[in-house]
Every structure is written in C-alpha cells, then in structure tokens.
Amino acid sequence: MLDTREALMVARTSDGRTVRRPVSPHLQVYKLHMLMVLSGSHRITGVALAGGAVLMVWFLVAAASSDAAFNWLVWLLGTPIGLLALFGWTGSLWYHFCNGIRHLAWDFGYGFEMDQLYASGKLVLAAAAVLTLVTWVAVFVAG
C-alpha cells in the first residue's frame, strides 16, 4: 500500500500534463534560524525524556524490589555518567516544560507575531536554563 499522502503530490502543469509536485527544499537549503532549532529541540528533548520516564520506573521498581537493586541504581546515578544523564534529564525536562507552555499559548491563539515568536523563544531558553540551575542548587542544598 502506498502512502495516502501521495494523493496530494499529484498535480497538473499549465499545459495539462500530470506531474508529481516538486517538494519544497528544506533542511539542507534553508539557513538555520532560532525558531527552527527551538522547534526541533522540543521534539529531540521529548524523545530524550522517554529515557527519563524509563529511569523513573526503574527507580520505583528497584525500590520495590530489593536493597541490592536499589543501592546499585543509586550508585549508578552517582557516577559521572549517571550525574550527566540526570543533568541532561533535568535540562530536557525544563526545556520541554517551558516550550510546552509556549505551545499551549499558541493553541489559545497567542504569540504568533514574528517578534513575539522570537521573544517567547528567548524567554523559554532563559527560563529552562535558570530552572535547571535552581533545581541542581536545590538538590545540593537538600543533600
């Protein structure tokens, strides 16, 4: 079965010939700009957060299983790689959280002007960075 989207690719030229529509040039041609990067990052952090969700379940299952399983996971998270993963998770979570609010605002019809898009994008980046930092300061203060 062919992709149903193929139906939208059929077009006619001005002299009546049936042709396949040209595809618009994208990533390789367009100059990379901030809004593209923010949009792509929302998806990339979303996929990365799947790893965080798995880790959350791993933590709960280990805690429900045995001291050995729990202590091993706690040790693993304390290694440099574990800490890097936790830091990446925190950053991804705050970015996806803040940019998610930006998406919800768009769903309500707000913030579609070009200057607003750039302003909200910069705000999201700043907020995610600050919240990530605050979270880790709180972690060290709590410990």
Partner: protein, 133 residues
C-alpha cells in the same frame, strides 16, 4: 491504494484518499496530547520537588514517602499521564518518519505496548511500596 503504474482504479489519487482521513476523530490525538500536557504541568513540578525531597532518602525513605496515599496516588497519576503523553509524542514522530504502512503500524503498536507495560510496572511498584513498604 494501487501502485501509480497500475491503471486498475479509475479514480484520481485524491478521490482514493478521500475518506481515509480523520473519520470524525481527526483531532483526538492532538486533543489528548494537549490535555495530558496540561495535567503534566502541576504533576511535573510536584515530581521535581519530590526528587529533591527524596535525595539520599534510601529505600526505606522512598517506601515511607509512598505510604502516604496522596503521594502514591499522585505518583500513579504522574506515571499514567507521562506514559500516555510519551506514547502520543512518539507516535507523532513515527508518523512523520516511517512511511511504509505495515512498519508504521507495527512501530506504533509496539510503542503503545511498551508504554503501557512501563506505566503498569511503575504503578504496581508504587502500590507495593505503599502497602507492604
């Protein structure tokens, strides 16, 4: 749908595609994504607070925390909403990048199965911690 070189169907490509679309549930995926994202705003804040709160708590500390019914209920709500939102998001990625129908369906269903199992495993772990410690 037939291959473009096979002239068996006397209908335009658009005519063949019509009716294969939303079937009156076109916004369901979008709506579910939005509802779960709304629910995840407070749940995620609470989750991050909990993580900071539980730092260095040990297994007994986690069990003690989960023994509070409000905490275990919120954790199960967090798990259900997170994995539902995750499944919807990953499905959107698959729909964008996997073209072939059989492979697309297989990938989407596999993601659904894995997300469901992870949400269940996490919830049962929470219940075990809450009830038996």
């Amino acid at each position: 749908m037939t291959h473009p070189t096979a002239p068996s169907v006397m209908r335009s490509k658009l005519g063949q595609a019509r009716g294969l679309g939303s079937a009156k549930s076109g916004i369901h995926h979008w709506w579910a994504q939005k509802v779960t994202s709304f629910a995840l705003l407070p749940l995620t804040l609470w989750f991050i607070w909990s993580c900071i709160h539980l730092r260095g708590a040990g297994r007994a500390g986690v069990a003690h925390y989960m023994a509070n019914p409000l905490v275990s209920a919120l954790t199960i709500a967090l798990l259900a909403t997170t994995f539902h939102h995750l499944q919807l998001g990953l499905e959107a990625v698959v729909v964008d990048y996997v073209r072939e129908e059989k492979r697309k369906l297989a990938t989407i269903l596999t993601i659904k199965a894995i997300c469901t199992l992870f949400a269940l495993a996490g919830s049962i772990a929470v219940l075990k911690l809450a009830i038996t410690g």
